[in-house]
């Protein structure tokens, strides 16, 4: 029997998702944002989700759409004030969605820590700022640092460029961003890829996310481009 993580239906990708789950969403802005998986999550209908992402969605597609459907109770992100953001802003101003603001590098490192079995680490980022309030402080070599804890997740929704059936992923340009570390941090990382290849076509020197961090894969060969979707005022569902 051969390992084969490839699925053909988005519903199959999301079959284990449950109400109240913590879900990481890859991407920085629109680059690497798994729009089709996010739309699948709308169809799935899971509620009370906690989303960990860099942003809080644009327009009414992808993460913006999921939030608009009121499936999200909390967003943990670095920047929830995107120029094209609508749905998060609406709910936040009405007090209907929670927000935890995390500096972008601390967010990335907390995610990487979760995937690396590191429950907490010290960082100089945010020392002396409002985001350090309530956090343990410690001095190393005369400099002050704060303790930041790992950010784990049940699922990660990820967009990659190419994969084989083992889940060896490569990404395209700056669409890499948070995707590889989220694959490490989630119990199940669920990947949409532009293109599937055979394992012998994978160059072992160039794999960015090795299959050990990947649970399920689906090919979406012509994914929605967020900028275009917003220009066309696409609304999902």
């Amino acid at each position: 029997m051969q390992i084969n993580k490839i699925k053909t239906e988005i519903a199959e990708m999301l079959s284990d998702v449950f109400d109240g789950a913590t879900i990481m969403v890859g991407g920085f802005g629109e680059a690497g944002s798994p729009i089709e998986l996010l739309h699948g999550l709308i169809d799935h209908g899971a509620k009370d989700l906690t989303i960990i992402a860099n942003n809080s969605g644009n327009g009414r597609v992808g993460l913006g759409a999921l939030i608009g459907q009121k499936q999200v109770k909390k967003v943990i992100c670095s920047f929830a004030r995107s120029a094209k953001g609508i749905t998060f802003q609406e709910l936040y101003n009405k007090g209907e969605i929670e927000l935890e603001v995390v500096p972008q590098g601390t967010l990335a490192e907390r995610i990487r820590a979760a995937g690396s079995g590191i429950p907490a680490f010290y960082t100089a980022t945010a020392v002396g700022t409002p985001l350090a309030i309530g956090k343990e402080e410690k001095i190393f070599n005369g400099k002050k640092y704060i303790l930041e804890e790992a950010l784990n997740a049940d699922f990660a929704l990820i967009k990659a460029d190419v994969s084989d059936r083992y889940g060896n992923l490569t990404f395209k340009k700056t669409a890499r961003n948070f995707n590889p570390i989220m694959c490490m941090a989630a119990k199940q990382s669920l990947i949409q890829v532009r293109k599937l290849i055979e394992p012998h076509q994978t160059n072992p020197e160039n794999v960015i996310t090795p299959g050990i961090f990947v649970k399920k894969i689906i090919e979406i060969d012509n994914p929605i481009i967020e900028t275009n979707a917003i220009e066309e005022e696409l609304i999902y569902p």
Binding site: A31, F79, V127, A175, N177
Partner: protein, 218 residues
């Protein structure tokens, strides 16, 4: 304490002039992160006698200029989420590696805007205290970069000093700023106060002091 309000009528340096002053202070072979907005201008003023490598915190080292319309790739964007290019010798990495460059002290210079800079180098530039809080990578940059340069107008749009005794807005970092470039002056943060490196040729030190909270000296 009521803040003094100044009319911004005094002729300060144009943004391009400020940018070129910063550009001249970035040594050859520096790794530099330019913040979104005004700091982006700096890259247009680098002289031919040096090569600077630009880092964008979303996993891009060796960032090049804005692409032509027909070269735009929405998978190649900068931290401001705008389409950019990559130069020969550039590379992509993931977010944790990109912020290792920042947090680990490998970025030689970052240039950011400011709402307030205090006399001890505190910076406030991420939150007015109102609206949706959104910090992005600013706190990581000021805590990690070897040198933090601020590029800003000397006064707010309302005519209030941005260089202050103590920041009133939520901090981005504490004691992090090395140097401030404004339309009125180039100023180092020192233990003795705001040290004037260069003052706008149209202004006196006395005037600069009146539009600056905290001691200014030469």
């Amino acid at each position: 304490m009521t803040k003094k309000i100044f009319t911004n009528a005094e002729k300060g340096w144009e943004r391009g002039v400020i940018a070129s002053k910063i550009a001249n202070d970035l040594p050859h072979a520096s790794y530099v992160n330019l913040g979104i907005g005004m700091p982006e201008l700096v890259s247009q003023h680098i002289k031919d006698d040096r090569e600077i490598i630009y880092h964008s915190e979303n996993g891009l080292l060796g960032m090049g200029p804005t692409p032509n319309e027909n070269e735009i790739d929405f998978d190649l964007i900068n931290a401001g989420k705008k389409p950019v290019t990559i130069l020969p010798g550039g590379s992509f990495c993931h977010h944790a590696d990109s912020f290792s460059m920042i947090r680990g002290g490998h970025i030689d210079y970052c240039v950011l805007g400011a709402m307030e800079v205090s006399v001890n180098g505190d910076l406030a530039n991420w939150s007015t205290g109102k609206g949706i809080p959104a910090v992005g990578g600013a706190m990581d940059l000021v805590a990690g970069a070897k040198n933090v340069f601020v590029m800003t107008q000397h006064l707010t749009k309302e005519g209030k000093p941005k260089l202050v005794e103590k920041c009133t807005l939520p901090l981005t970092g504490s004691g992090v700023v090395s140097r401030v470039y404004t339309d009125y002056a180039v100023i180092d943060i020192t233990k003795e106060g705001f040290k004037i490196v260069e003052i706008n040729e149209n202004l006196s030190i006395e005037y600069l002091q009146t539009v600056t909270e905290g001691r200014v000296y030469q």
